[in-house]
């Protein structure tokens, strides 16, 4: 329904690419996938049908079959160690969380792949690279933290059966006309970046998803009637918008609070800026236009996120930046091969290397950059350890 | 910025027995009083009602009425050379965490500590010579006498509905009571609890061996009773759910059904529950306190409560912790043996034997908190000569049941397998047919048993945890061996089918199994500021408008449970404040 309405508006709907195997599949490494069951229990869950592209069923088992590879679980790394010159790393210290014992693992090379937030935290805790200071705008570690923004409308179609419980992680159709279409002129709207729109289901799990027209009471028979009536006959059109890096959105170590290892917590300072507010308003406008054109029985219109960013409701796990890549050590933490400018035998992966966040989900480039860095290490670094740039 | 509340005459930190008594006494004297209790308010009719109070898993294993170690705890070690680590979960001792404090879940044992304790050093030096007391044993006289305290013991016993049998009324020995006890003005308010079979069988054996068994005095009302303040007690139901539980029959002497409701009936008294005091505030001179800082644990908001007098009554451990956190008094250092805050921490030792009698029915699940007979022949019996034995202090031996709930109590002869049909057979056979004989021994103060602030670990408010350094010393090992020998000898005269023999606790003190919630010392009372934190009126030598009440004032720990003197001293201090301090604020000594 969304695709048709979008087409009528001259937009270019296409199915969202997603790592849920539409058919049984064996990947080039020989890892076998079952076909997606459209079970509606995708994000937040492990996949019982081996249909969701996860490292658990692809690259990790292959690594573990290799005698020169060893996996140690329950091993919490608390520090990356530098040599006296500070120009090289020598290994890591970690704690076995089964009994609190501490270990040191020396290594010729350290690869930091512990999710964007933890990568930045560990760089700060290990004192590798100059921490970013927003006042003097000096330092790089912690710089350019970005997140995701968005808006969504709920459309209610009396009598329609959407069967929301039948869905995958990405059963929607999207349009990029306000994102990668360079003809989309931003001048009159005054914002950098873009957003894509998507229509369809995310999931139908009832504790969190019971779409109700705004103003429906929160309990009682009227509430129950509305829940029963609209659960199956509502759909969503949502936007996912990029967030541009900002001088005052950054990571650093917290002066007061500590984690279960007595180490300082990382402090995140973030809010949506006018750029995101403007983009959000634009996106809400387009969503509502398309939605109205589908003449739903009722509609909760999309509204831009202009309130301060709140940690409370779930929004997205696309935390980017903090250990950004770049062309020179002055403005970035790692070079184009994700190699630390400070210690040439330290590589840092993950969305933390993104200088800003786009409308798209981050895992595509994150995966690609991992292979890219792996090649650089295998083909060039090992032969001649040193800065690759 | 913390919100500053209206000033009051007195602020009370912690509302258990001591806080409750002072709240009532000072509120009745017309003073404006605010009590700050970190725990929640609980109501016997709702929280301790049948059947949900009868839940051993919740109240005994999961410590529902006790301190939450996720929020605040101590670090512990056996000696100063060890690195102290956090007590990550409750075990050895169980401080309370509700309005009514530990006195909600206590068993009720109420003793009168006598001049045997108050003048311990001079007694031993006079009888056994100066060198009898080892150099590191830092016991000292308390600076108070039994005669001074007797009327206040009486007041606490009659308030808390203590059932017992006097052994000495005004010098005349009474049959059936404790012949060695100091003279009492009158008998207990209530006759002793109905003796259970195990305590009777023990008493008979003890008498045959020439000892003097008597019913243990305990604040479990043997009959319905109305105390002098008009608080009404039901009769004890011997339900077997006393220790660790609130009493649903209003039969156990606790502050939440005696002194606290009376204080709360006064307009000039205000209780704030969920109020966690983080610091006592001193004035610039450091000679007076001006009030306290506390956090409302419902929302994390911080407050200052100004007061012309501060009463620290938050259980022994927390009292010392707050003195250290507030920097009141010089912290004790074991190396230089200077300072007083944290000095003389003591605990409890003991030994126990389990006797199995094929075919007997002890019905262990039928008991009150104080269902024991006990004897003092190795404690305050003047003829008990320690000369050859070489230890200071004494122990009492007793038998009976205070709890026999099945998760915690399933006696089986040593060597029984831990699982399988043979284990089930033994558990089923011996649960009803076993009884214990146990000794509770005093612990003498020692140079290396003390409190201070931990350098590493912090509580939920970011404040340093208190560090406890404690181990049993040679004195306690000798006493324990002596006690174990007496128990085993007596047990053998009762020729049980099997006997799990008693043995002394000579391994390092461990925080793991429950042993006792009798943590004493840390801000001890004394006759001069050089060797004590408080004077005989429990008034701080450093700030005359700060009074600290609880077992933390004891310079050493005796074999007796601490609540008798703790309650009496609360009334004693209340009188000193009402009759002398408020009229002429300043040092009372």
């Amino acid at each position: 329904m969304f695709a048709e309405a979008a087409k009528n508006h001259g937009y270019h709907p296409f199915p969202r690419p997603v790592a849920n195997a539409s058919r049984a599949y064996t990947n080039p490494d020989g890892s076998k996938f079952g076909a997606c069951e459209y079970c509606g229990f995708c994000e937040r869950f492990g996949c019982e049908a081996n249909a969701k592209g996860s490292p658990l069923i692809t690259v990790i088992p292959i690594a573990m079959r290799n005698p020169n590879f060893e996996l140690r679980t329950n091993a919490w790394v608390t520090k990356v160690l530098k040599d006296s010159s500070g120009k090289k790393v020598t290994g890591v210290t970690y704690t076995n969380t089964l009994n609190g014992e501490e270990f040191e693992q020396p290594a010729g090379m350290v690869v930091l792949t512990a999710y964007a937030i933890n990568n930045t935290h560990l760089m700060l805790l290990s004192g590798i690279g100059k921490p970013y200071d927003p006042v003097s705008q000096t330092g790089v570690v912690g710089r350019n933290y970005c997140y995701q923004t968005g808006a969504a409308a709920q459309l209610f179609f009396d009598g329609k059966h959407f069967n929301p419980f039948m869905s995958t992680g990405g059963l929607n159709v999207g349009i990029d006309d306000f994102h990668y279409d360079w003809n989309f002129d931003r001048a009159p709207h005054g914002f950098v970046g873009g957003y894509n729109l998507a229509g369809g289901m995310t999931h139908g799990r009832p504790i969190s998803y019971r779409p109700l027209p705004a103003g429906t009471p929160q309990w009682g028979s009227e509430w129950k009637a509305a829940s029963a009536k609209w659960y199956n006959s509502a759909m969503i059109i949502s936007s996912s918008g990029s967030v541009m890096a900002n001088r005052y959105n950054y990571f650093e170590l917290d002066p007061n609070y500590r984690n279960a290892f007595g180490l300082p917590l990382m402090r995140m300072t973030f809010d949506y800026k006018p750029n995101e507010h403007k983009m959000g308003q634009h996106a809400a406008g387009v969503i509502n236009k398309i939605a109205k054109s589908m003449n739903p029985t009722m509609m909760n219109p999309a509204v831009a996120r202009t309130e301060p960013w709140s940690v409370v409701p779930y929004q997205s796990t696309h935390n980017t930046g903090g250990t950004i890549m770049g062309t020179n050590p002055g403005n970035s933490v790692v070079n184009k091969y994700l190699q630390s400018w400070d210690c040439h035998n330290l590589f840092v992966m993950g969305a933390g290397v993104f200088p800003h966040n786009s409308a798209y989900n981050p895992t595509g480039p994150v995966g690609a950059l991992a292979y890219w860095a792996a090649d650089a290490i295998k083909n060039r670094y090992l032969k001649n350890p040193g800065s690759l740039v | 910025m913390a919100k500053v509340m209206k000033e009051v005459d007195a602020v009370i930190i912690g509302l258990g027995w001591t806080g409750g008594i002072l709240a009532k006494e000072l509120a009745e004297a017309g003073m404006s009083v605010v009590a700050l209790e970190r725990g929640t308010m609980r109501d016997p009719a709702k929280d301790y009602a049948l059947p949900n109070i009868r839940d051993e898993l919740r109240y005994v294993q999961r410590h529902d009425l006790m301190m939450n170690t996720a929020r605040d705890t101590l670090t512990i070690r056996n000696n100063p050379s060890q690195e102290a680590l956090p007590m990550r979960k409750l075990g050895s001792f169980l401080p309370g965490d509700v309005v009514g404090g530990s006195a909600v879940h206590w068993s009720g044992h109420t003793w009168r500590w006598t001049d045997n304790e108050f003048k311990i050093r001079s007694n031993y030096e006079a009888r056994y010579g100066k060198k009898f007391i080892p150099g590191d044993m830092t016991i000292q006289d308390w600076g108070i006498t039994y005669a001074e305290l007797e009327p206040y013991y009486d007041k606490f016993e009659y308030t808390a509905a203590v059932s017992g049998k006097a052994g000495n009324i005004r010098g005349k020995i009474q049959a059936g009571g404790n012949p060695f006890e100091a003279p009492r003005a009158r008998d207990y308010p209530l006759p002793p609890l109905t003796p259970i079979l195990s305590s009777e069988v023990f008493s008979e054996a003890a008498r045959n061996a020439g000892y003097h068994p008597f019913p243990r005095p305990s604040a479990n009302a043997s009959r319905a009773y109305v105390n002098p303040d008009g608080s009404k007690f039901g009769a004890c139901q011997y339900c077997g759910y006393c220790q660790r539980f609130g009493c649903e029959a209003n039969a156990k002497g606790s502050p939440h059904m005696t002194v606290i409701p009376i204080a709360m009936s006064k307009p000039n008294f205000e209780l704030r529950a969920n109020a966690w005091v983080t610091r006592i505030i001193k004035d610039a001179s450091g000679k007076r306190v001006t009030g306290v800082a506390y956090t409302n644990v419902l929302n994390g908001e911080e407050f200052i409560q100004p007061a012309s007098m501060v009463l620290l009554t938050a259980y022994a451990i927390n009292n010392v912790h707050l003195m250290l956190l507030s920097g009141i008094g010089k912290p004790y250092d074991p190396v230089s043996q200077t300072g007083v805050i944290g000095k003389n921490y003591c605990y409890q030792t003991g030994a126990g034997a389990t006797l199995f009698f094929e075919g007997r029915n002890f019905n262990p699940f039928i008991n009150a908190g104080g269902s024991n007979a006990t004897m003092d022949d190795f404690n305050i019996n003047p003829d008990f000569d320690r000369g050859q034995l070489g230890f200071v202090g004494g122990y009492s031996i007793g038998a009976g049941f205070n709890t026999a709930l099945p998760i915690g109590y399933r006696p089986v002869p040593r060597g029984t397998p831990q699982w399988g049909t043979e284990w089930k057979a033994a558990t089923s056979k011996w649960y009803q047919t076993a009884m214990n004989i146990g000794a509770s021994g005093g612990v003498m103060a020692n140079r290396y048993n003390y409190y201070d602030l931990d350098p590493t670990y912090r509580n939920a408010f970011g404040l340093p945890l208190m560090r406890m350094t404690f181990d049993y010393k040679d004195n306690e090992h000798k006493m324990g061996r002596h006690a174990a020998a007496q128990i085993n000898a007596l047990a053998k005269t009762m020729n049980p089918t099997h006997l799990n023999e008693a043995s002394a606790r000579t391994d390092p003190w461990t925080v793991v199994p429950y042993q006792s919630t009798h943590n004493t010392g840390g801000t001890i009372m004394g006759s001069n500021p050089g060797n004590s934190a408080l004077n005989k009126y429990l008034q701080s030598w450093d700030c005359h408008n700060l009074f600290v009440v609880g077992a933390n004032v004891f310079p050493h720990n005796a074999s007796y449970n601490p609540t008798g003197p703790v309650g009496a001293l609360a009334y004693w201090t209340a009188d000193a404040i009402k009759n002398r301090y408020v009229k002429n604020p300043g040092m009372l000594v």
Partner: protein, 123 residues
């Protein structure tokens, strides 16, 4: 034969005692066993037990603001003197699994005096 008669007589006597006028004054002293949970004041609330005003002749489990056990509410008992006497003698025997933490008053004469006091005071 002889034995049977005396037993019957004893039963009758015991039954009879219940209705003879107990000594209400002595009953007040016995009420001490109950006052810790049943406040004597009319309409008292918040106690471990419900107010006993008007208990004689009332159906069990009827005081509005008291949380009775299901056993008490389902008991269908009306507090006439005979049922009250049986309940006070052995609460768990008369209404098993009720929530009153009281083991019972064994002496028939005590119960009679107590019931007389309830009759005189809580009407």
């Amino acid at each position: 034969m002889y034995r049977k008669i005396t037993i019957a007589a004893a039963m009758l006597f015991a039954m009879g005692a219940v209705h003879a006028d107990g000594d209400a004054k002595r009953g007040q002293k016995l009420f001490d066993e109950c006052v810790a949970c049943h406040a004597p004041e009319r309409g008292a609330t918040g106690g471990v037990g419900p107010s006993l005003f008007g208990v004689i002749g009332r159906k069990a489990g009827e005081v509005a603001d008291f949380r009775y056990s299901p056993a008490m509410k389902r008991s269908g008992v009306t507090w006439n003197e005979r049922d009250l006497d049986a309940y006070i003698e052995a609460p768990q025997k008369k209404i098993p699994a009720n929530r009153m933490p009281y083991s019972g008053m064994p002496e028939a004469r005590d119960r009679a005096d107590l019931i007389a006091y309830l009759n005189a005071t809580f009407k």
